[in-house]
């Protein structure tokens, strides 16, 4: 980002939208406003038709000759398949309640980032193609003809939506722009337009089991490295089973946790926790990903990628699945998993999850057989099964970022807070308009965590970053915890820009630091290897 925070803010103006009406405002494809297109072979390999070479900043996007038919047919098909889509196309009254709820609008001021107008980009075409009023009245009824510029506009703005659903919370009819964005992206993929930062993880996940393309032997090495560090820091040697049949629990977390700081510390936290309670579990290299970038391309890809979790649980004979800290993974698990992949449970050992340590039966996961680690750990703490020394986290002044998907697509709000308050002594909430169900996106969810659009991301990160700055100024907060692997990656630049000095952590990193494990030596460093005396 070339602008300083104050300069960025000064460039935002809500009160002077462009002179031209939105339908007549030309698209701006200057660099930094669009993610790079998907590599053709990756796009093709995932079964998408019409994959082709193209560049957003060139005039000709080399669309298939019949692209208008493809889009029209695809549009119709989705109207028939999704009531949500059809209803949302019809009932918006443009009251504008959603307008300033989108982080991209708040930080950018571009009116097409108001959720209402973003959806209008599609609605205008819907009216022309599928409604009588639109056919007859045209622009007076808010209808317009599908042209190449309209498609380009879709690309521009549906990749400036992180599907965080904050607009849906405030909409009097619950219109969910995430649904509209998903449909628009599906249609864009149908004519061969996808972005690489989504397609590469999708393709990797399909073949290697995880987004990062970590192959089985490398995954094992990574886990061993983490175990080496744990041994060095705590004196406890952990040898987590990998791909082993016959364990009660299959543990799946987003591969981001196995990849880089600070995710790996969270992963180490999980491993320490399981060691401390003697959980009978296994990891899997085949299902080494809980996140699901398929969700960002379309329903079919989401289903294909998510299916691995049940397939692997069945193959290994696990009784239930424990899921790590991840945002959209949990939206998919909570709202889609059993519906689309449930039939794969047939013939498996999967059963209603029961915490083997406390005996708690997770009735709320009766159908999916999948428990969130925050629920699991909260239950352990409540039953006094963990020996915790929260003072080891005394140097931390912590706030908690509710990740969008577990908040507005699940309602997981109090469990992580309960865990945090039990493993650290200094906890502070950000302002209420920015937390719990009203939480703000990190600015780069739904596959937008890519460097080339950093300007857009930092603008989108303004509401979150600013709330963070508020508690930093007020309470000297120096750590923001979250339960999303993507957050752990994307919030770092956001915090560096808007609230420098605040670091990012997963909840289970702090659990790992506070947790006393049998046979441990005196804990002199935390999971980051920082001496506890000094920090």
């Amino acid at each position: 980002m070339s602008l300083k925070p104050e300069e960025l803010l000064a460039s935002v103006d809500y009160d002077n939208p462009p002179k031209t009406e939105w339908m007549d405002t030309p698209n701006d494809f200057s660099p930094g406003r669009w993610p790079y297109p998907a590599k053709v072979d990756l796009h093709k390999a995932m079964g998408f038709k019409h994959a082709h070479e193209w560049r957003p900043d060139e005039e000709d996007w080399h669309l298939p000759e019949n692209w208008k038919d493809i889009v029209h047919q695809g549009f119709k098909e989705r109207l028939d398949k999704y009531r949500s889509f059809k209803v949302f196309m019809d009932i918006c009254v443009r009251c504008g309640a959603c307008a300033d709820k989108c982080h991209f609008y708040i930080g950018g001021g571009d009116p097409k980032n108001m959720p209402v107008l973003r959806a209008e980009l599609m609605r205008s075409v819907y009216r022309k193609d599928f409604t009588m009023a639109g056919k007859i009245m045209g622009k007076l009824a808010g209808a317009r003809v599908m042209e190449e510029d309209v498609l380009k506009e879709w690309f521009l703005y549906f990749y400036q939506c992180t599907e965080c659903r904050r607009c849906s919370l405030f909409c009097p009819y619950g219109i969910d722009t995430a649904e509209v964005t998903m449909m628009a992206r599906e249609l864009l993929h149908e004519v061969g337009l996808g972005i690489n930062w989504i397609m590469e993880p999708v393709s990797n996940c399909n073949r290697t089991g995880n987004h990062l393309g970590i192959q089985p032997h490398a995954f094992k090495e990574i886990v061993e490295f983490m175990c080496d560090d744990i041994e060095e820091y705590t004196g406890v040697r952990i040898n987590p089973p990998l791909n082993e049949p016959g364990h009660e629990v299959l543990f799946i977390t987003p591969s981001g946790d196995a990849f880089a700081d600070p995710g790996i510390y969270t992963f180490m936290g999980y491993l320490l926790l399981f060691e401390a309670i003697g959980l009978d579990y296994t990891l899997s290299t085949y299902a080494s990903e809980g996140g699901n970038f398929g969700f960002f391309t379309g329903a079919d890809t989401m289903q294909k990628l998510n299916a691995k979790m049940y397939a692997e649980a069945k193959r290994l004979g696990s009784k239930w699945i424990l899921g790590g800290e991840c945002g959209h993974m949990w939206r998919v698990v909570n709202q889609y998993m059993d519906t689309m992949n449930g039939y794969l449970q047939e013939g498996s050992n999967l059963t209603t999850p029961r915490n083997p340590i406390t005996g708690t039966v997770f009735e709320n996961a009766r159908q999916t057989k999948m428990v969130h680690i925050a629920e699991f750990t909260a239950d352990l703490i409540k039953h006094g099964k963990l020996d915790l020394s929260p003072e080891r986290n005394n140097h931390l002044r912590v706030t908690y970022h509710d990740s969008c998907n577990p908040s507005r697509g699940m309602g997981l709000l109090d469990e992580p807070r309960y865990v945090i308050k039990n493993v650290c002594n200094n906890y502070f909430e950000m302002p209420p308009q920015t937390t719990r169900e009203q939480t703000f996106c990190c600015g780069a969810g739904s596959g937008l965590n890519t460097e080339e659009i950093m300007d857009i991301r930092l603008r989108g990160g303004l509401p979150r970053g600013n709330a963070l700055k508020y508690v930093q100024d007020k309470h000297d907060v120096n750590m923001m915890a979250c339960i999303c692997a993507l957050d752990r990656a994307t919030l770092i630049p956001v915090a560096d820009y808007w609230a420098p000095g605040v670091a990012i952590t997963g909840v289970h990193e702090m659990v790992g630091n506070a947790l006393n494990v049998k046979g441990q030596k005196k804990r002199e460093v935390n999971l980051r290897g920082e001496p506890l005396e000094e920090v």
Partner: protein, 342 residues
């Protein structure tokens, strides 16, 4: 510009009625044919739209959860914002439809500076839109119900009481209906924010203004008849009853002003099913609000669920077998077994 289109169109419609009845004397067309057509179009159009929506399945449960989920017993959950059963979901819907609860949450974002001079975003509770919407909708409903006294004989107790309550202040002669004032306030506020609020003006299209001006036209013509022109109420009731009894007769003493009012109502009825006004029906069908958050608890069926399988473990092992064996990871088939098959 869009506002002018809307205003122009509604004025033109009012003129059509005025000229049609007052000038051309087409009382049969405006008094009988159009009203029947309008009611038919409204009922059939409304039903078809609902049917059309209902035809599309709800493949996934996608409620927007606005509170704590039901998980561990000792964590109190938010049953009406994150319901897990049908009963609580119904309560959520009732609160939504009756009190506009989501809109009540509305905030506005403002950019400014914090005490240190750094940038700050602040969020303020913003209830004006909610208030205007509530005023408008409830006044409209009350007005609609008290109009039923024109279409019933004897007038049911409820309609009489509502009529009494609405004019309970007994200001002026004929007594002023409070809802006449309130609906004007609500409508004018909604209109003003579209015209004067740059952001809302930018996102408004002609149809948004048309709907507001049309209803405003209906309200103003109604107020004009009651408080200014003092139209022949008895004749109008006689006429409206004749419509209801399907033996329409139009008394001579009904003034053209009435037909302007009545024609605009007919236009509203016809316009309704094809416009955003269908949010009246759609709000009940919105999958983010009318579904319990229970897919982890109970099975939910997607009628078109394709049986898409993952890239299989076998294929995965085939791909990485050598490396897995070398790394000491368990494999189902040893390399020599797999080699023999090939």
């Amino acid at each position: 510009m869009n506002a002018l289109y809307g205003l122009f169109l509604v004025c033109a419609l009012a003129l059509v009625a005025l000229m049609g009845v007052g000038g051309a004397g087409l009382t049969g067309l405006f008094g009988i044919a159009i009203p029947y057509v309008a009611v038919a179009v409204f009922i059939v159009g409304f039903a078809m739209k609902i049917f059309d929506w209902a035809k599309s399945p709800v493949p996934f449960r996608i409620p927007t959860t606005a509170g704590q989920q039901k998980s561990l017993d000792w964590i109190p959950y938010n049953r009406f914002d994150n319901p897990v059963n049908n009963r609580d979901t119904v309560v959520r819907m009732i609160l939504e439809v009756v009190t506009f609860r989501s809109l009540f949450r509305n905030t506005s974002a403002h950019l400014g500076k914090n005490p240190q001079g750094g940038p700050q975003v602040a969020y303020f509770s913003e209830k004006w839109l909610w208030l205007a919407a509530i005023l408008f909708h409830y006044s409209f409903l009350t007005i609609l119900i008290r109009h039923m006294r024109f279409f019933t004989e004897p007038v049911p107790w409820l309609f009489q009481k509502l009529d009494w309550a609405d004019s309970v202040l007994q200001i002026g002669q004929p007594a002023l209906y409070q809802t006449d004032l309130l609906i004007m306030a609500g409508l004018l506020w909604l209109l003003a924010r579209r015209i004067f609020y740059p952001r809302i003006r930018y996102l408004s299209n002609a149809a948004d203004y048309f709907a507001l001006f049309l209803i405003l036209g209906i309200v103003i013509s109604g107020i004009y008849m009651r408080y200014v022109a003092h139209v022949d109420i008895v004749a109008i009731k006689q006429y409206s009853m004749s419509l209801v009894m399907f033996s329409p007769t139009i008394p001579e003493t009904i003034s053209p002003a009435f037909f302007v009012h009545f024609f605009l109502v007919c236009v509203l009825l016809i316009y309704f099913p094809f416009s955003k006004l269908m949010h009246l029906g759609g709000v009940f069908l919105s999958p983010t609000r009318n579904l319990p958050n229970d897919t982890r608890i109970n099975h939910h069926e997607n009628p078109w669920n394709p049986k898409i399988k993952p890239h299989s473990y076998e294929a995965y092992e085939d791909d990485f077998r050598e490396a897995m064996v070398e790394a000491g990871l368990p494999v189902v088939k040893q390399p020599d077994e797999a080699g023999a098959e090939k």
